[in-house]
Amino acid sequence: MATAVENPAVQVAGRFGAYGGRYVPETLMAALEELEAAYAVAQDDPAFHAELDGLLHHYCGRPTPLYFAKRMSEQLGGAKIYLKREDLLHTGAHKINNALGQGLLARRMGKQRIIAETGAGQHGVATATVCALLGLECVIYMGEEDMRRQELNVYRMRLLGADVRGVASGSATLKDAINEAMRDWVTNVRTTYYVLGSALGAHPYPTMVRNFHRVISIEARKQFLEEVGRLPDAVVACVGGGSNAIGAFYEFIPDASVKLVGVEAGGRGTALGEHAARFQKTGGGLPGVLQGTYSYVLQNDYGQVATTHSVSAGLDYASVGPEHAMLHDSGRAEYVSCSDEEALKATVALSRTEGIVPALESAHAVAEGMRMAARMGKDQILMINLSGRGDKDMGIMARELNLQGATKDSTIAGGL
């Protein structure tokens, strides 16, 4: 399977170069075909877009601002840094763009029962929110390790009426929550809609989820042209499954002058199991099949999927969306990694220079953005997609950054 070869007898869709496709138990195929057909109809229906756009504006708060981070830019002394403020959306992260789109689609399809998986809890919160809004039953699968790390979001989901189910298998993180959600879906496929939370899984999910997040780069591109007068030189985003990144990159892909940089979780080391950096040369990431799609997968020599580590639950995933695999191989986007420690330092830096506390996921993009900006010229412009806000991570930040006493001492800011 160096290159995917389709069965010439039957048609297949949803490829990103060699990546993507559909590798699922047969029981799910009818549901994927039904979803693909329903999505195609919705995509061509102005009424669907009108309702989605209306809710994105009035309920979620779009368009999100493009904010010039003046103090941070000045302190670094390089490129002008702009933040695309997805953290200001309702529920606190970009995830609502997709959850709302898929929720409306589920309702059109007549599905009353919604399931979803969540890592950091942001997709779970977004899905539970949309289910409350649309009056749908909601079950969320979450790794027990992530439930511990993201306790506040567990409370939020329960408050919103969701049934949050802990998953203890494997590493008890996002990968295991997806397995459990897929088991539920296989069992209840006739009545249940699976709101997949990132641009991964079997076709049509990677395309559909990307399209629901395209709004990020559609807005950003317009905002740069209207407010700044030109396109940025670089766009930086964190990459777990890769939904915020593909949303932030997509409309800039044809603009060759815009460098696209994805930032993976470097965790606490380069050994397998210590990070979630699928694209780094020494990290153990190779093309493979996990959870319905052909993409890069962290695995051992025998094809067993590796456990992962990141301080950020939302980046703690062994595979990555297939469109990123294509962008990586073609060289159109560059993928780097940043460590837990660098992400924590960037969290402090952004908090203290701009008064904005980023989610630990987004802090990975901030760390790389700071590194890049410092090397770039003052006449250059860089956009960081600030995918979510840090409220949910306050427990981890308190512990990792020792915020118990007076913290005026800025030495923890390190990089600045």
Binding site: V5, P25, E26, I178, V289, Y294, Y302, G303
Partner: protein, 254 residues
């Protein structure tokens, strides 16, 4: 090709290779064959068995934790083929271990060790171009799954691309034992018959002699998986082969 069901209904026995250990898996398989199993499905353990219920999931986790590799499973297959030349032997896997080895290399080796067929849980017919070409080049039987949710057009493609037998999933859901054979099953088998003359084996939830008898009324064979794996889990390595042998004999009414 030894995939044949001479006494109807036939019995297909699924085992997770490497649980509790490879040598025991081999002994269990031999006992199953000697007591009436027509086909052994030798399962390659995988870290993320998302189509499986808790019983097989646990077995898979134990086998992966012991370091069981695809090459080890091929080794056991070779031993079984040598010891029992007439039994049906199907390698059962999720895709990733196979992709990691390389599809071409895997199919070549599967043929070399004497496997009759291969079943890949997460390989659907639409994606199977390279797989089918390699299976054909090595004279191996690709066994595809058919589900109650598969519309006729899919059943046609599944029937046309399968060899050996077609595996009909008795109900929507994951593997695991149930009290009765699902009501979805007879209808699915009847629809499948329109598109294939191959034997049809029914699996998912088949766990006792009454189930096997019920399956025999409308299909050619029954697949026993979780019930065997649970028995092995309960029995422990020393007695597992004997326990599985008498269980299979019981299914045959012996």
């Amino acid at each position: 090709m030894p995939i044949a069901f001479e006494t109807k209904p036939g019995i297909v026995a699924y085992l997770t290779a490497g649980d509790p250990d490879l040598a025991t898996t081999r002994d269990i398989a031999l006992a199953a064959i000697d007591n009436g199993a027509d086909v052994i499905e030798l399962g390659v353990p995988f870290s993320d068995p998302l189509a499986d219920g808790p019983v097989i999931q646990r077995a898979s986790e134990r086998a992966v934790a012991r370091g069981t590799r695809l090459t080890d499973v091929l080794g056991i297959a070779a031993e079984l083929r040598k010891a029992r030349p007439a039994c049906g032997l199907v390698l059962f896997s999720y895709l990733n271990p196979v992709v990691r080895m390389g599809m071409k290399e895997f199919c070549t080796k599967a043929a070399e060790v004497g496997a009759d067929g291969v079943l890949l849980t997460d390989m659907i017919v639409e994606e199977a171009g390279e797989y089918l070409a390699e299976m054909s080049a090595n004279e191996l039987a690709p066994v595809f799954l058919a589900a109650p949710t598969s519309p006729d057009a899919r059943l046609k493609a599944i029937g046309e691309n399968s060899k050996g037998f077609v595996y009909a999933i008795s109900r929507v859901g994951i593997t695991g034992t149930r009290d009765t054979v699902a009501s979805d099953a007879p209808g699915l088998v009847e629809r499948l018959r329109k598109f294939t003359t191959l034997p049809i084996a029914v699996g998912f939830g088949i766990s006792n002699a009454a189930h096997v008898k019920a399956v025999g009324e409308f299909a050619d064979a029954a697949v026993i998986g979780s019930a065997l794996v649970a028995l092995i889990e309960k029995t422990g390595p020393t007695d597992a082969a004997t326990a599985v042998g008498s269980f299979i004999a019981g299914l045959r009414g012996r």
